[in-house]
Subunit: 561 residues, 2 copies
């Protein structure tokens, strides 16, 4: 069982296929793209993002998946169980080519401890969300979500402008690395604490972060200058959030000098969902941490959990002092609560605070990637999307900023948050562009599992649902089965993404636009049905805007409407 | 929200459809059949079997499901969320007509307490296995499984003959009611403790049990006479297992008079998986129990759990004294263990003890029902099955005994345990019989969720797997998605069946043989793939017989073989 390997993986580009159809070629390229050196956080260990979110269980499994995809016929389906290819079965042309189930555990055993035991035995892999379902597109994927969240916070708390404001956060990993750029796009400054300097350097190299500091005073001086000047810029502070957050809180309470006297928004994106691998304990060096994960896992976990408690205690302090504070979906409040911090859930998660209204209309992180590998293909789709949605000024702004500020990683890709009624139109348009030859090669279309109808995660996406149905996971299972029935190209069911083992169940979907009539029929069904299940789920929970959306789009929801 | 209703539900029979195709007509008839007065344990409360296993969430939902099925087009799919119809979406002719997700909860919240909270709010329904997935066929469904288990125990412990032996058990509900008949078919006597006299009377009325007793001495006297005479007969003792089991154990230890000096096999099928609704506490009357479930649920649960501990303690006593003792899949050992009985898992579950070798070859509870409603249709299929499998003497015996001893309940149906390579042949044959007009109407084909590839349940079906992968639930999720992809008629994903909330995840599949070519193609795929996933799962776990079976059938299992 090999998890370490020094091979560099690059997906094929261009119009020559090594598989028997574009559907399987797409799966192969996207799997490889997830491990592209510019995309994955730690590709030699098969880690794509989010702690230990992997694309395949072992390198042997990676090779076997590639071989199976190259060989797969148009009426066959490959089954992948926690990153290992386990079977090839006969289905039909309109069925998915790949079905994936990652990290799923029977609830009573759904803990990190049991997962790690199975993982050590070679029986499991953590799939996160888009890592094990082969539709991660690098940090860009998270930029818009983060941007929308910060912008909405600005609207709710600062009259629509974040000029002269600063955001305190931590974690510059695969997802968290989007924060400085998203903050700047939203008009704010950002101080991001990151313990691993290589992560910070990666963000600076890819233009997601502007500056680096080694001391808190240095970082605060930069923020002071930028906020005064009304400039939106970001700094990575090399340090430990469990030390820096409490220190800033102390200074604020003590009335010591701080830009604006306090941070204007506080959040966090360390990998707190994974106490063994994702959170540096206070007082430890990164090297010590990495070594002890192997030799003393229990000690690492204990120390990390205790540090998270201190970290969250500071966040609760900011919240109580009136600073808009949000959990950004890493389950850190849950850990702090388990560590005895009764008030851990004082501040809200980002979904109920800012994102749910979008989910009610099926709006979420729609994305596509150009299998040609040619950035021009994406630029053409940018322009076409603007033409398709001429009235959507917000979308136009986003596409302009994205083109200007976001460096592609791996296969060129674009993300934009659109909802029911728009997604299938976008999909059909992309298919048309492939058919006409305007694009050089087919396009894959997918989304995050963090979406409207695809996830049950009571500490994050389904926190505080109106009817109390936060923990009901029938919905993502129905979503996955419906996407299989609709003819998506690959469909996945995962457990534990985002918030860790025990805390979420979710499904992913990817569909290929290869320019054929058959693809058009599938795209129309899948890209309608998929966001429609989100509207259905929120309508069932009693959200008026979801019911209105369902009525406006003529959804047939027998027990609901 | 109405759960009580005095309506009696009977499925339509004959060849006239009220739906637009046989696929949807089949779903409608089988839903109704689940609530047929001769089939369901408590149809007026929508309860089919297994504690509170329901076919629909409320009577309003039942009516809405029926209306939706009557209206459903050949390219549409109905979504059912915990017994409530929530959406109708466009798919295609080869996709399932119904997709069902019942009782699924995010692991950290997957407890009876949380389930009951949601259930009271009208947000959930317990689907058990075949109750909420509309393929329960009455007690017959369980007879063969129980028969196979007792017969195998006879082979392992008593040289192949149970003549003159007696089995001690409890619970004569929907599933447990099969025990006396299965014991008798296997050649043994049976003493079954049942607290609810109406349940015992029901079994006697339907010829599953031979006699009734009100005192232990009376029951033992009957057993004494039958075992002496070498007659295989059964008696229902009206009493509480938590009192009777310890008393028999006491007599055995004390050397007091007992047939054979001890029971020859001990097991149990009370609904221990559901401590609130399924197990009568010691010293309580049934009436008191029923009343207090509403008024003092916590007290009921506490008392039931304490009684189960005593019950299991007696079973451990029998086991330690050398009596073959088995958990029959109701999770009673788990409860006893939680109640502090350290030795609760001393005796094995029935799957690792007797059933797993069958699962390794994809063999499990295959079943079919005649939508015509005509018993002759089933008798014709009995004969045809014998002809199709001329070499399978075991199957022939079973079919003969079943015909003789099993009274049909609701739509006439037959079950027989067959595996990979045989199921699709049986399905194609049934389809041919429909096509040729030999059968009056189409046939539905399905199976229990307790099957080879469809369940993760570490205290039951996947107890003590060779590689320790008991809790990995990727497998049933892949099974469900593959059956959707293959074109089954309805597919379901459930949580908590058999062993209760938190302890299992499993999938169901039903497919209609309507005599068409399209059905034949789907049957061939689905009835091959479905057992093949079971062989795959057991081959992956390292069972040689599963690997041999996979090789023999030419399965393509890239990461496994
Ligand atoms: N809200 C969302 O939309 C969303 C989306 C995806 C992921 N997430 C969650 O956000 C978290 C981060 O995801 P990621 O992909 O960036 O993970 P990652 O593992 O790639 O990055 C985490 C980063 O945090 C740093 N870190 C760890 N402990 C630290 C500490 N004590 N102080 C400072 N820095 C520390 C690590 O060095 C690493 O760079 C995860 O929990 C993930 O589940 C949220
Ligand atoms: N092993 C298998 O193949 C298999 C299959 C299905 C179900 N089961 C499990 O078997 C159990 C029984 O299933 P069912 O459908 O018959 O359930 P059920 O609820 O219909 O029947 C349970 C019966 O037990 C009786 N009972 C309860 N407490 C009792 C006590 N203290 N003493 C005596 N009798 C008592 C009840 O009156 C009832 O008749 C469930 O836990 C179920 O999950 C096992």
């Amino acid at each position: 069982m090999t998890r370490h390997n020094t091979r560099d993986i690059y997906p094929a580009t261009g119009t020559e296929m090594t598989c028997k159809s574009w559907l399987t070629e797409a799966a192969l390229r996207m799997l490889m793209n997830n491990l592209h050196p510019d995309v994955a956080e730690n590709p030699h260990e098969l880690v794509v993002y989010g702690g230990i979110g992997r694309a395949a269980r072992t390198w042997e499994d990676f090779d076997r998946i590639c071989a199976a995809l190259r060989d797969l016929e148009a009426d066959e389906t490959l089954l992948v169980q926690s990153g290992k290819p386990v079977g090839i079965f006969r289905t039909h042309a309109d069925a998915p080519r790949v079905l994936i189930a990652n990290s799923n555990l029977v609830p009573h055993w759904a803990t990190w401890a049991h997962f790690h035991e199975l993982d050590r035995k070679g029986l499991m892999m953590y799939g996160q969300m888009t890592a094990g379902s082969w539709i991660y597109i690098g940090t860009q994927g998270i930029v818009q979500g983060t941007y929308e969240t910060f912008a909405e916070a600005g609207r709710q708390h600062y009259g629509g402008s974040l000029r002269g404001r600063w955001i305190l956060t931590a974690g510059l990993g695969g997802m968290g690395g989007a924060q400085p750029l998203a903050a700047v796009m939203a008009g704010a400054c950002c101080l991001a604490v990151e313990c691993d300097e290589t992560r910070a350097d990666f963000r600076i190299r890819t233009r997601y972060c502007d500056a680096k500091a080694h001391t808190l005073d240095e970082a605060l001086a930069l923020i002071e200058g930028w906020t005064k000047a009304g400039e939106a810029k970001s700094v990575a502070l090399i340090g430990n959030a469990a030390e820096v957050f409490p220190e800033i809180y102390r200074r604020m309470q003590a009335g010591e000098a701080l830009p604006n006297g306090r941070p204007d928004i506080v959040t966090d994106q360390t990998s707190a969902h994974d106490p063994l691998n994702g959170y540096l304990p206070k007082g430890w060096s990164v090297a010590e941490w990495q070594a002890k994960r192997e030799s003393e896992p229990a000690a690492v976990e204990r120390a990390a959990r205790a540090s998270m408690r201190d970290h969250v205690a500071a966040m609760v302090g900011f919240w109580n002092a009136g600073v808009p504070t949000l959990d950004y979906g890493n389950n850190i409040r849950q850990v702090a609560k388990e560590e005895g911090l009764e008030t851990a859930f004082a501040f809200p998660g980002f979904v109920p605070a800012y994102i749910r209204p979008l989910f009610c209309r099926g709006i979420g992180p729609f994305r596509w990637a150009a299998l040609s590998g040619d950035p021009e293909d994406i630029y053409k789709t940018d322009a076409a999307m603007k033409k398709l949605f001429p009235e959507n000024a917000h979308l136009h702004n986003w596409l302009d900023m994205a083109r200007e500020r976001i460096a592609f990683q791996g296969l060129p890709a674009r993300i934009c948050w659109i909802g029911l009624g728009d997604r299938h139109r976008a999909g059909l348009m992309l298919n048309e562009m492939v058919r006409s030859g305007e694009l050089k090669a087919p396009v894959v279309i997918g989304r995050d599992h963090l979406d409207s109808g695809s996830v049950a995660s009571p500490n994050r996406e389904t926190e505080a649902m109106k009817d109390g149905s936060d923990a009901v996971s029938d919905w993502p299972l129905l979503n996955a089965m419906l996407n299989v029935a609709g003819g998506a190209t690959w469909v996945s069911l995962h457990h534990g993404g985002g918030v860790g083992m025990g805390f979420s169940q979710h499904s992913g979907v990817v569909i290929v636009a290869d320019g054929t009539d058959e693809a058009a029929r599938r795209l129309e069904r899948v890209l309608w049905n998929d966001p429609a299940t989100g509207v259905m789920r929120h309508a069932d929970a009693g959200y008026d805007s979801a019911r209105d959306c369902a009525v406006a789009h003529g959804l047939r929801l027998p027990g609901i409407l």
